[in-house]
């Protein structure tokens, strides 16, 4: 039970980290490796604001999320849009190039030293023998609040509907008059902002250093793929599930094998359900690609 709580915390951050990645995949049709560097950047900007300038964590988080979101729009315009017509392969490798460049910028600006968020959120509660921290509640609450806010935006606003339409069928969206440039900017903003939020959350839970982008891209990829890449709710479920499986498995297997088990589960799921956990049938698409 305790480990399920841990898993929910891990899974919430993972879901937040993966949503942005999956959104870009759905609308731009490529695996954006640079997403993880946006997480690292978010983690660093947040820690600098909190640790060096003494900002309140929530204010720092908000500023971080907005500024990294804006940066994502710029990065997309400068690096990804010009090669968009060349297809997913070129975009994927461009994103690796962009990752390296962002990584370099992170080192140049923040150096390679590890940083820690000096925030503890104080309290600890015993609820039915389960150990729960205020920090856990804050993180899970924030993760869910932002996911719900995203859902409200996507389902309840015209721009949100345009985003979903673009994700579902980009060409038709254009035909129906959806302003693709604005929608694309919106997607990049949301994607990078969620990445930054995940970076801050990971920073608060553990630490920030220049390598965290590389460390987390594999898990993000795994959660995205497990969620079926094309469905946002699938990604949320997959993130939570992966978090819970990883944290609960610690109880039953030697923990050294956990990465093996995590990836083993991933391989098994993919082989049994090649389109991800919540896959809708998309045979036609599978045949075309």
């Amino acid at each position: 039970m305790q480990n399920i709580v841990f898993g929910i915390v891990t899974g919430s951050t993972l879901a937040v980290a993966t949503i942005g990645f999956a959104m870009v995949y759905r609308t731009e049709n490529f695996l954006n490796i640079a997403h993880a560097q946006m997480m690292a950047l978010g983690g660093f900007i947040g820690v600098v604001l909190v640790d060096s300038y003494g900002w309140n964590i929530f204010a720092a988080g908000a500023v971080t999320v907005v500024s990294v979101g804006a940066l994502g729009v710029v990065v997309a315009a400068v690096f990804f849009r010009p090669v968009r017509h060349l297809g997913g392969t070129v975009l994927l490798f461009t994103s690796i190039g962009v990752s390296l460049m962002l990584y370099a910028v992170i080192i140049a600006l923040f150096s390679t030293q590890a940083r820690f968020y000096p925030v503890g959120f104080g309290g600890r509660y015993e609820i039915a023998g389960v150990n729960v921290l205020t920090a856990d509640l804050v993180i899970v609450g924030l993760a869910f609040a932002s996911i719900i806010a995203l859902q409200v935006f996507l389902n309840g606003t015209g721009l949100g509907r345009a985003v979903r339409a673009t994700a579902s069928n980009g060409e038709l969206a254009r035909v129906r008059g959806v302003p693709v440039g604005r929608v694309s900017n919106t997607i990049w903003f949301i994607s990078s902002a969620f990445g930054a939020m995940a970076g801050v959350m990971i920073g608060v839970l553990s630490s920030v250093n220049a390598e965290i982008g590389w460390h987390h891209i594999l898990t993000v990829l795994a959660a995205a793929v497990l969620g079926g890449l094309r469905s946002i709710s699938g990604v949320i479920v997959a993130g939570l599930l992966l978090g819970i499986v990883m944290d609960v498995s610690v109880l039953y297997i030697p923990s050294a094998y956990r990465p093996v088990v995590a990836f083993g589960v991933l391989v098994a799921v993919l082989v049994l359900r090649p389109e991800g956990l919540l896959a809708v049938q998309r045979r036609k698409e599978a045949a075309v690609t």
């Binding site: 069928n169 129906r176 959806v178």
Partner: protein
């Protein structure tokens, strides 16, 4: 602007001149000329891979034109981004992937109404539900759960919801049972009667569809012949077998 006046004066709402286009290095269209006058139904027919879908995609700027021009209502479309065409009054129902599969029927309809006030949007969607009772009961369902016929219905309805001046239909009757084809034709005629100009790509069910069109352009290997009457096509045995007797199974993609 004098050209624009000229086109308008000639009653031509869509005017295509010398259009070349294709995929990557493969040219598909060769110097296509096409005029559609306000209020008429113009059909484009031709065998598989002739370039009919490519023509529509190029007109709607989903494919870049390599040469030539497309004017709508006198305005050169090269200056308009693809998503700006809808606002000019151009509607388009592609042959495939013509709905948003992950969106509900309601949202499919609402996409084109972006920016309008919610009450107006609701009113227009309700109107669609009245016109197409089959959709009315499925407003909350994802489009991917609809049957083929319902999906075509939705595609047509969502293109029409903004009441465009001009509507291009790419094979709206593919794979439908004859009774449903007749329903769709009735819809199309209603649309025409309401004042919308139509460009209709026909490949299946020519006997059912062609009698309702004003003029027919025959397309062959990327070249568009001058228009003839639908009667002429239906009566020309050679054309008839050439275009409509071919094996439908091969119809997959233009390349």
């Amino acid at each position: 602007m004098s050209e624009a006046g000229e086109a308008a004066a000639a009653g031509s709402i869509l005017r295509v001149r010398g259009l070349d286009a294709g995929y990557g290095g493969f040219p598909v269209l060769h110097g296509v000329d096409l005029d559609v006058s306000a209020g008429e139904i113009v059909a484009v027919v031709g065998p598989n891979g002739a370039g009919k879908s490519t023509l529509l995609k190029t007109i709607f700027r989903l494919l870049p034109a390599q040469a030539g021009s497309v004017r709508f209502d006198g305005a050169d479309l090269r200056r308009t981004p693809a998503h700006g065409l809808a606002a000019m009054g151009m509607g388009y129902v592609p042959q495939e992937n013509n709905t948003f599969p992950d969106l509900s029927v309601r949202d499919n309809l609402a996409v084109a109404l972006r920016g309008q006030n919610p009450i107006e949007i609701r009113r227009k969607i309700r109107a669609v539900g009245e016109a197409y009772p089959a959709l009315a009961g499925r407003m909350g369902q994802n489009a991917s759960t609809l049957s083929g016929g319902e999906r075509q219905m939705l595609a047509l309805a969502s293109a029409m919801i903004t009441s465009p001046k001009f509507l291009a239909l790419d094979e709206p009757t593919t794979g439908l049972a004859p009774s449903i084809v007749r329903e769709r034709i009735d819809d199309i005629l209603r649309i025409r009667d309401a004042g919308t100009t139509l460009l209709w790509v026909i490949e299946e069910s020519p006997l059912l569809c062609l009698p309702h069109v004003d003029r027919v352009f025959v397309m062959q290997a990327g070249v568009l012949d001058p228009p003839v009457t639908s009667q002429a096509v239906l009566e020309d045995a050679a054309l008839h077998s050439l275009f409509f007797g071919v094996d439908q199974a091969a119809e997959q993609s233009p390349d």
